[in-house]
Assembly symmetry: none
Homo-oligomer: 161 residues x 2
Amino acid sequence: MGKGVRRRELIVAALQQGTVASQAEVCALLESHGVEATQATVSRDLRELGAIKSADGYRLIGQASNGSAGLYSNSEKSMRQALETFLVSAEVAGNLLVLKTGPGQAQVVAVEFDRHPQPQVVGVIAGDDTIFLALKNEKCANAMRDRVIDLAGLSRSGGGS
Amino acid sequence: MGKGVRRRELIVAALQQGTVASQAEVCALLESHGVEATQATVSRDLRELGAIKSADGYRLIGQASNGSAGLYSNSEKSMRQALETFLVSAEVAGNLLVLKTGPGQAQVVAVEFDRHPQPQVVGVIAGDDTIFLALKNEKCANAMRDRVIDLAGLSRSGGGS
DNA sequence: CGACGAAATGTATGTTTATTCAACACATGA
DNA sequence: TCATGTGTTGAATAAACATACATTTCGTCG
């Protein structure tokens, strides 16, 4: 687990610093920092990080306007804490991610999503013990579920049914 | 010089409308509008237009708004007023249309949708500042977003974060 | 410990995008 | 007219990217 985090931190740092033209370039950069990874892994990382590619190269969404982007920035601490404390389950339904918390705790968690907006999250609605997250598509929803479960420290097996 | 203008207009329109996943898809779209072009040409056009590609597909940065007049029945007057007053943004996610309002205003707007039911709207749920509209499909969702934005008098810029 | 399951990653390969190069269209000027 | 230059495009191809599947890693439980 920890190994991948370091790699993504490096990727985020690289993208924030200057533009990177290709995934191969990212691989080289990583290697120069002592982290080995193949293009395939970088491809997956970039998708997870919500990177976009323009004619200039890769960027993180909101990079220009918002200095603190990136999935693993320290601003995520409160998010993690909220999920660790309150999240009971996370399940995908189409492009919706449905989060369950203990009674009366949904708002607390939802506020974290409001506070740390992410591009692939289109909207959030919270009831008493349930949160609906509208994601851009089903893929995003699955990715977000995995991340949320990871942050909460839940096992990914349990799930539903 | 000027021949490709029509083609690029079509591409811009397509990108503003909804997500396009690949350049091949753009080619197909163009052909359906009677314009022939190969993937190579589309690749050049997209670079020229400053398009970016994310996991979701192609987008334009700095999208310009495109005014379009509408015909709206009298019964939609209160709807229009509510949207004009309260709507902040509207974004599609799958077959969902996610509307954002100011704090505490979502219910007011949602009530309008309840009051003026439309066949393509399958369901409505509202939180504090967010409304989820479930549409029959993604196409309906896009159409409804355009309509709502138009009624509210918003430009169709944003997208991004 | 060994077996198992989940997650992460690499390899190989398929898919998508960018570029090279030749052909064509159109304008200009001798 | 013909030669020449400029710009656009398609076909072929190279480069870049994504993904299916196999492998490794790591934690957990007997």
